[in-house]
């Protein structure tokens, strides 16, 4: 029986990484994720892993690129400005098809912005972020428990698809404490044999291994791209994850992820108390996005409200998913502000009163 602990999101994530067999972590301090680095500095060396505070996020991601090439489980974490600095390296990792875990504990931007929570790096996370046609698997935890659970899932997916996996979360989820239970996890049973490609020294009598993202011949590079796109299609088909709350009888749904989804959850509970048939769809994977599920839901609801701590980024994917079937409204706060449940309820109310007017006249 696993024990229940009260932990900060950042610390739960770090602890789960160790339990998932983390072999090396490279990172640079930045608020609001420094607890991750601090926790791992204390714990990882005792438990069989290497840790290094790098000179920059650029160095961190390139250390991850090197370490991941050995086939071991490795990771880095940062917050928004630092994640921008990592984009070039992530593009290399994606092209070279190396498994690794990345964490962006988002804060409000643009620029140096604020250290308060934000969700304004959605586009950067799900559309590639760096140069070239690549994707990461993007996991969006909605609780401290999921901060831990998605680490195991993230490493497993990274190994399975040889792809960088990003946990996209925010400062509030990173800093807040909730109960967390660490599952039994047999590392050995989950490790994938990477010896066919990893650079660990050329075995006598066998071919050398090269990790590169350079393909000067356009025909070869196009094939590399086609291979990557095929992999992303498989991921779209098999790895969509989401949570649906009270959507079965809903005539209106809110779509939100991470912290926004938690606040929206409260708003729909309040709405239900007022007799509104309102539900919540919370994507747990942002890439792949639950497009088909949203499209199907759009057949049964009269409208959708997307709530984000941004100027409206995921709302574009929701609109693409429902393809004009129903109106998709947006409510967002920016700059480190968090929407309150009452604000979201107001938006839901606005929809209902509009519908009432339409039905009356």
């Amino acid at each position: 029986m696993a024990t229940k602990l009260l932990m900060k999101g950042n610390e739960a994530l770090a602890e789960a990484a160790i339990r998932a067999g983390l072999k090396a972590y490279f990172g640079y301090p930045i608020t609001p994720q420094s607890e991750l680095l601090e926790y791992l500095v204390r714990e990882l060396p005792k438990r069989g892993g290497a840790i290094l505070q790098a000179e920059s996020e650029i160095a961190s991601i390139n250390m991850v690129y090197g370490a991941a090439a050995t086939g071991e489980r490795v990771m880095t974490s940062t917050s928004s400005p630092g994640f921008s600095l990592m984009q070039e390296g992530i593009s290399y990792i994606a092209c070279a098809e190396l498994p690794c875990l990345l964490v962006n504990v988002m804060r409000g931007g643009p620029g140096l912005g604020t250290i308060q929570p934000g969700q304004c790096d959605y586009f950067q996370a799900v559309k590639g972020g760096g140069h070239g046609d690549y994707r990461m698997i993007v996991l969006a935890p909605g609780s401290v428990q999921e901060m831990a659970d998605f680490v195991y899932l993230g490493f497993d997916l990274a190994d399975k698809y040889r792809i960088p996996v990003l946990i996209l979360t925010d400062g509030a989820l990173g800093q807040m404490m909730e109960m967390v239970e660490f599952p039994e996890y047999d590392i050995e049973a989950h490790l994938v044999d990477h010896s066919s490609w990893a650079t660990t020294g050329k075995k006598k009598g066998s071919e050398r291994h090269i990790i590169t993202s350079l393909f000067l011949d356009p025909e070869i590079l196009e094939n590399v791209n086609l291979h990557l796109q095929k992999k992303y299609d498989t991921i779209r088909e098999k790895e969509v994850r989401y949570e649906a709350v009270m959507t079965d009888d809903a005539d209106f749904i809110v779509v939100a992820y991470g912290l926004s989804a938690r606040v929206s959850h409260k708003a729909i509970e309040m709405g239900r108390q007022e007799g509104m048939k309102v539900g919540l769809l919370r994507p747990q994977t942002l890439f792949p996005f639950p497009s088909e599920q949203l499209n199907a839901l759009a057949d049964h609801v009269n409208g959708i409200l997307v709530v984000e701590m941004s100027a409206g980024q995921m709302v574009e994917d929701v609109r693409l998913s429902v393809n004009g079937k129903v109106p998709v409204e947006f409510y967002g706060r920016m700059g480190g502000m968090i929407p309150a449940p009452e604000e979201i309820l107001n938006e839901i109310n606005r929809f209902y009163s509009q519908k009432l007017i339409e039905e009356t006249f």
Binding site: I115, Q175, L259, R262
Partner: protein, 183 residues
């Protein structure tokens, strides 16, 4: 049953650890809990506050703007949070640090002279536990035993010898409101 609590004061008054202790005690009683701190530069000597939610059910939003109870350790925090307490809610305030007491009439207000009592107990750092004791006297949502177990988790091991002093402070806080000064 859900209790949504705001705890606020200066950095260094033990605001965050008081909230964490309360939350951990909730864990020991099998409840769902959330502890959400304010973080950032305001922590460095300025005002610090945290939200604690203790519930029998799954907790949706960790972000709330209205609270059932507020434990207030200084004037700026009272000014900021007095109006966020729900009607019929409760405000516990530390009377040495709050010069202008709450004026709301639709909430229960409890004056707690915790700083003074802490000095009397020769345990100035125990002020937060006196406040917590007073709070628990009126809201026995967790037991003192659970609080003491929680302190073992919240305090670093080198401070575990302080737990008995903290227990005294908690009990003193409870006594204070057994004959409450209801304003």
């Amino acid at each position: 049953m859900t209790n949504e609590i705001k705890i606020a004061g200066f950095g260094g008054q033990g605001v965050l650890s008081m909230g964490m202790t309360l939350a951990y005690a909730g864990v020991f009683e099998g409840k769902q809990v959330v502890w959400m701190p304010s973080y950032g530069p305001e922590m460095r000597g300025g005002t610090a506050n945290c939200t604690v939610i203790i519930s029998n059910d799954r907790i949706s939003s960790p972000i709330i703007n209205q609270f059932d109870m507020a434990i207030i350790l200084n004037q700026p925090s009272l000014d900021k949070f007095e109006n966020t307490v729900k009607p019929m809610g409760q405000i516990f305030y530390e009377s040495n640090n709050v010069i202008n007491p709450p004026t709301r009439e639709d909430v229960s207000v409890f004056e707690v002279p915790a700083a003074l009592e802490a000095v009397n107990l020769k345990n100035a750092k125990g002020m937060n536990m006196i406040m917590l004791g007073a709070f628990l006297e009126k809201n026995p949502i967790v037991s003192i035993d659970s609080i003491l177990k929680a302190l073992k988790k919240v305090l670093p091991e080198r401070h575990h010898h302080l737990i008995s002093a903290n227990e005294k402070a908690l009990k003193r806080g409870m006594e204070l409101l057994q004959n409450p000064v209801l304003s």
